[in-house]
């Protein structure tokens, strides 16, 4: 199956940020931003990576690009033309050719464009760095890219401050496309935009995916956005992937209590519908000192009810529960009968 080909495989990806104190900058603790996660992305698909603020989504995305150095032991396998490269092991210099294959779109359309460069220079910068096109050729390529993202190429000589947030995000997308990459990491590309602009940018991303055969890792916290664009979803909680499945399957039959709680929080634009929200107790624990066993157990409603000892003592592995690509890291994934969106949404008659 051609479209089942795996493009990127992340294994035991880990990033601990040291917490330093005192005049000697002694390391007193670690923030376990990404604590050994595994997932894979198939060629041509969009993998949504969701989770609440501070769960390590962005760190995960950036370590894949080595914008943040992953901790030793992490494996980031990139499969290309029948070859496999471990990005985590490469020297920075060896990494440069691979940079052409992987690009990133940032969340903040304001800080991601250099205010002192024209948008032509911004979009053309990757071409300059890799020396792939110069002079007229580069200009033609930049025009092409601007057109591809729905911007007037006549704007080339303008500066970022002359554009709106949505237009700036398009410029960022054009820059990511410049080197014709295979994988684009979209780091919350629409969360800083208006809802109406969000839809435009999402549709643009989908169009570009079809046109250029792109693969996306789509990082977001908005479940409705992720449901719209992703073919598969990975859910993160406190530096770990807790569940990964095809989008519809995840929404219909979640296999992790955290996912269930997340789904119950998705707003439904119909006043006649009453949501049966699952309210999680307490706050997200500190990633400096995560809970033992299953990181979710202190807030898990099922643990609260049953007090299973395994939840507290054993770290659950991420396993394929159904055997058909539905991964969950809940000890009781099979036993629990969790509610999907349809069951959570209880339709009431309008009377």
């Amino acid at each position: 199956m051609a479209n089942e080909e795996i493009l990127l495989e992340v294994k035991a990806l880990r990033k601990y940020f040291p917490v330093k104190r005192g005049i000697f900058r002694r390391t007193v603790a670690f923030v376990k931003a990404v604590d050994g996660i595994d997932f894979f992305i198939k060629k041509g698909e969009t993998l949504g990576l969701v989770g609440e603020s501070g769960c390590g989504k962005t760190t995960a995305g950036r370590t894949i690009l080595r914008l943040i150095e992953p901790d030793p032991g992490s494996k980031i396998l990139f499969h290309m033309n029948g070859q496999t490269v471990d990005i985590a092991k490469l020297r920075l210099r060896q990494l440069k050719p691979l940079r052409r294959q992987m690009q990133i779109i940032f969340q903040d359309p304001y800080s991601s464009l250099n205010p002192r460069m024209t948008i032509g220079d911004i979009v053309g910068e990757p071409l300059v760095v890799h020396g792939v096109a110069r002079g007229k050729e580069r200009e033609a390529r930049v025009r092409e890219l601007l057109e591809a993202v729905g911007l007037n190429p006549a704007y080339m000589k303008r500066y970022p401050h002359e554009f709106s947030g949505g237009q700036r995000q398009r410029i960022g997308i054009a820059r990511a496309l410049a080197l014709d990459p295979q994988l684009i990491i979209c780091d919350e590309p629409v969360s800083a935009l208006d809802v109406s602009i969000q839809a435009q940018v999402l549709n643009l991303l989908e169009d570009l995916q079809k046109e250029f055969g792109l693969t996306y890792l789509f990082i977001a916290h908005d479940l409705s956005v992720v449901r719209h664009i992703s073919s598969r979803i990975a859910v993160m909680y406190l530096g770990k992937v807790v569940e990964m499945a095809d989008t519809e399957e995840l929404f219909k039959t979640p296999m992790h209590p955290y996912t269930e709680a997340l789904l119950s929080a998705v707003p439904v634009p119909d006043p006649a519908i009453k949501m049966d929200r699952i309210i999680l107790e307490g706050d997200v624990p500190s990633p400096v000192n995560p809970p033992s066993g299953c990181v979710f157990h202190p807030r898990c409603p099922y643990y609260a009810k049953n007090q299973w000892a395994t939840c507290k003592n054993d770290v659950p592995p991420l396993v394929d529960v159904t055997g058909k690509g539905h991964y969950s890291s809940c000890h009781f994934a099979k036993e629990l009968k969790l509610q999907g969106v349809e069951e959570i949404v209880e339709r009431r008659s309008r009377s």
């Binding site: 990133i104 991601s112 250099n114 890799h130 007037n152 960022g172 549709n203």
Partner: protein
Amino acid sequence: MTNRTVAARSKAPIPEKVIERNPSTWQLAWRRFRRHKLAMLGGTVVMLLLLAAIFAPWLTPYGFSYQNRQLLLRECGELPPGEFGSPHPCAPSVDIPSDPQLLGQCVRPAVLVWKCGMHPFGTDDLGRDILTRVMQGGRVSLLVGFVAALAATLLGTLLGGIAAFLGGPVDAVISRFTDIMLSLPTLPLLLILTGLLANQEVPLAAYLSQTLGPSKSIVVIIIVIIVLSWMSTTRLVRGEVLSLRSREFVDAARASGAATRHILVRHLLPNAVHVIIVQATLQVGEAILIESGLSFLGLGIQPPAVSWGNMLARAQEFVFTPNGIYVAFFPGLFIFLTVLCFNFVGDGLRDALDPRAKR
């Protein structure tokens, strides 16, 4: 596909003229600067002062060490008025004090009133034209100000940039060294430094006096000012580069595989340059102040070279004699004007170059 064409079409067709109009950030900054009245005033005055200083040898009516002996002698009462031909139309209108102690000693400055075309700013106690000397002194003071400020800013930028970019122990060493330099008391340090550099036994001082001769004191003062004033720039640039380094456009460049040099030259420097320019401008005024302070203490520019500072120093003897205030007034006025105007320009630049500013 449909969405893209819709998005492209939704923008109204743009006339060609509008497309061509693309003010760069620098053009916008210039527009904002022009609207800053005080800064424009300061800038104009600074330009005039600079021109006057540059063209001083052609503009000044006298040589800077020329003494109008005739005037001097007449003022001292040792020469009857009109001895050397007919009295000049701009005859001195000074009251000659009848203090017997001063009379005949010729230490009293002969100062002419403003209306006179001969010595518009008057003369000093040796009969030297103050206008000429203010212009000549301005050459030295502005030269010291500019060179010292430029060098201190370059040094500060370099150290701050290195500290922020390399981080870790390098940053710690540079930052702590900056803190130490900032907490040293300035005046004793100045005294020690100038003393050291004046001492012929110090190799650098010996070398300087060999190569530069009488203008050595200018170079010494520049070195001293640089040593004293790089710290604020270092701190500023370090902070700026640290904040820029975490901006996402730098990450974008790194994700494209850009080399460190490319990031420095294309991203960090152009975005930090406005802070550096403002700092350099303010530093010029500061350097001129330090120079006058040092010269006032007799440690700065040594006669026969003139600077505003050593003119002031010389004037202290006469401040309380009649009309003697002019000897101090004009160099003091020019120090004041120059520093004030540089500060106005600095303020104007700070507002104009702020990337967060609206048009």
